[in-house]
C-alpha cells in the first residue's frame, strides 16, 4: 500500500516536472520575442517621431561630425539630472561614505532608466545608448556594493569616462571642473567631475583628499 502511494507521488512529480519545464520554456521564448520587438521599437521610434527628416546614421559618426550637427538640437534633452546624481555620488565617495554612495548609485540608475529616449537627437542616439548602457551597469554595481568602497570607486572611474563623453555630446547646464587623479587604477589615472574648483579626491577620500588637479573648466551652455 505504502509502495503504491509512493509510486503515485513519483508519477505525479514526473508529470509536474514535464509540464513545468514546458511552461518555463514557453515563457522564456515569449519574453525573448517581446524583448526583440521592444528593441526594434526603440530603435525606430526616434526616426518616426522626428518631424525634421534626420539623416539615418547607421555607423557611429565621428565625434567632430556630431559636434558640428549637434549642440543646437540638443535643447530638449539635458543631462542635468544625470550630472546631479553623479555629483552626489562623487561627494559620498569624497567623504568615504559607502552607504550614501550606494544610495546615490541607485538613484543614478533610476534617473538613467527614466531618460526620455525620444528627446535625444537621432544622430546622437546610438552613442547615447552605448554610454547609458555602460553607465547603468556601473551605477548598479555601486548600489550593490555597500561595504566595498574600493569597488565602488573603481566603478566611479568608469562613470567618470561615461560622463565625460556625455558632456562632449550634450554639453552641461552647470559649470563643471574636470579633475584628474594620476594614481588611481594602478597609475593609469582617472578623471572625475566636480561642481567646485577645489580638489576633493573621490578616489581616495580622506586618505589623499587634496591629491589631483583640475584639468579643464567646462562652462555651462
Amino acid at each position: 500500500m505504502k509502495n503504491l502511494t509512493l509510486s503515485i507521488i513519483a508519477v505525479i512529480m514526473a508529470f509536474v516536472t514535464v509540464s513545468c519545464n514546458q511552461a518555463s520554456n514557453k515563457n522564456e521564448q515569449s519574453s525573448n520575442d517581446t524583448a526583440v520587438v521592444s528593441q526594434e521599437q526603440s530603435a525606430s521610434q526616434p526616426k518616426e517621431d522626428d518631424t525634421v527628416a534626420a539623416p539615418v546614421v547607421s555607423e557611429t559618426p565621428s565625434s567632430q561630425e556630431a559636434k558640428a550637427t549637434g549642440k543646437g538640437e540638443a535643447k530638449n534633452f539635458s543631462i542635468a539630472p544625470i550630472v546631479t546624481d553623479y555629483l552626489s555620488l562623487k561627494n559620498a565617495l569624497v567623504s568615504d561614505n559607502d552607504k550614501a554612495a550606494a544610495s546615490a548609485g541607485k538613484k543614478l540608475l533610476a534617473t538613467l532608466n527614466k531618460v526620455d529616449l525620444k528627446a535625444i537627437p537621432a544622430d546622437k542616439h546610438k552613442q547615447y545608448m552605448d554610454i547609458a548602457d555602460d553607465a547603468k551597469e556601473h551605477a548598479e554595481h555601486i548600489g550593490e556594493n555597500v561595504g566595498n568602497i574600493h569597488h565602488q570607486r573603481e566603478h566611479l572611474a568608469s562613470l567618470g569616462e561615461d560622463l565625460k563623453d556625455l558632456i562632449d555630446l550634450f554639453g552641461t547646464s552647470q559649470t563643471l571642473y574636470q579633475a584628474h587623479c594620476p594614481m588611481f587604477n594602478d597609475g593609469k589615472g582617472a578623471v572625475w567631475f566636480s561642481e567646485n574648483k577645489e580638489i576633493k579626491n573621490p578616489y581616495y577620500g580622506s586618505k589623499m583628499l587634496t591629491c589631483g588637479k583640475v584639468e579643464k573648466t567646462i562652462n555651462s551652455k
Binding site: K2, L6, I9, A10, M13, A14, V16, T17, C20, D130, I131, D133, D134, E137, H138, H150, H151, E154, S158, E161, D162, D165, N185, D186, K188
Partner: protein, 151 residues
C-alpha cells in the same frame, strides 16, 4: 509506522522528487562568432587559465561536474551561471561596445587582483580553478594590455 519513519520517508520522497526538476543546461558545442577567442588573439597561456577558471560561469559552455546532476546542487549552480553570464559572457564578448569591452577588461584585472574572482564559493569545490600567483600575473598583464589597446 512511527512518526520518525514517516518524516524520513517524506524527506526521501521530496529529495527524489526534486531530482526531476533539472534546470536547463548551459552547454553548447558551438564557439560563437562573438566569442572572445574569435574577436581577439588570446595567447595560449591566457586561454588555458580562462578555460580552467572562468568559462564555467562566464560563457555559454559549462563543464558540469558529476555532482551538478544532483539536486538541489544543480539549481544553485544554474543561478550562479545565470548571474555570471549577466555580468560577463566571454561567448558574447564581441557584441559588447568598445566602451564596455574596455571597462570589462579593467574590471577583470581588478577582480583578479583583489582576489574577488573566481568566487571563493566556486573554488571551494573546484580546487583546480584556484589562480596561482603566476596565473594572476599573466591574466592581469593581458587584461591590462587589452584595456589599453581599445580606444
Amino acid at each position: 509506522m512511527s512518526l520518525k519513519k514517516k518524516i524520513i520517508l517524506g524527506l526521501a520522497v521530496i529529495l527524489i522528487g526534486i531530482q526531476f526538476f533539472q534546470p536547463l543546461r548551459n552547454q553548447s558545442d558551438e564557439v560563437t562568432a562573438s566569442h572572445i577567442e574569435r574577436v581577439y588573439n588570446v595567447p595560449q597561456n591566457v586561454k588555458a587559465i580562462l578555460t580552467q577558471s572562468c568559462y564555467d560561469c562566464h560563457s555559454n559552455n559549462t563543464r558540469y561536474p558529476w555532482y551538478s546532476l544532483i539536486q538541489p546542487g544543480a539549481w544553485y549552480m544554474a543561478r550562479h551561471i545565470k548571474k555570471g553570464k549577466e555580468e560577463l559572457n566571454f561567448s558574447e564578448f564581441g557584441e559588447y561596445s568598445a566602451r564596455k569591452q574596455r571597462n570589462k577588461f579593467r574590471a577583470m584585472a581588478g577582480q583578479v587582483k583583489d582576489g574577488e574572482m573566481p568566487l571563493s564559493s566556486y573554488t571551494l569545490i573546484h580546487r583546480n580553478a584556484v589562480l596561482s600567483p603566476e596565473d594572476k600575473q599573466v591574466l592581469i598583464a593581458w587584461f591590462s594590455t587589452m584595456e589599453d589597446s581599445i580606444k
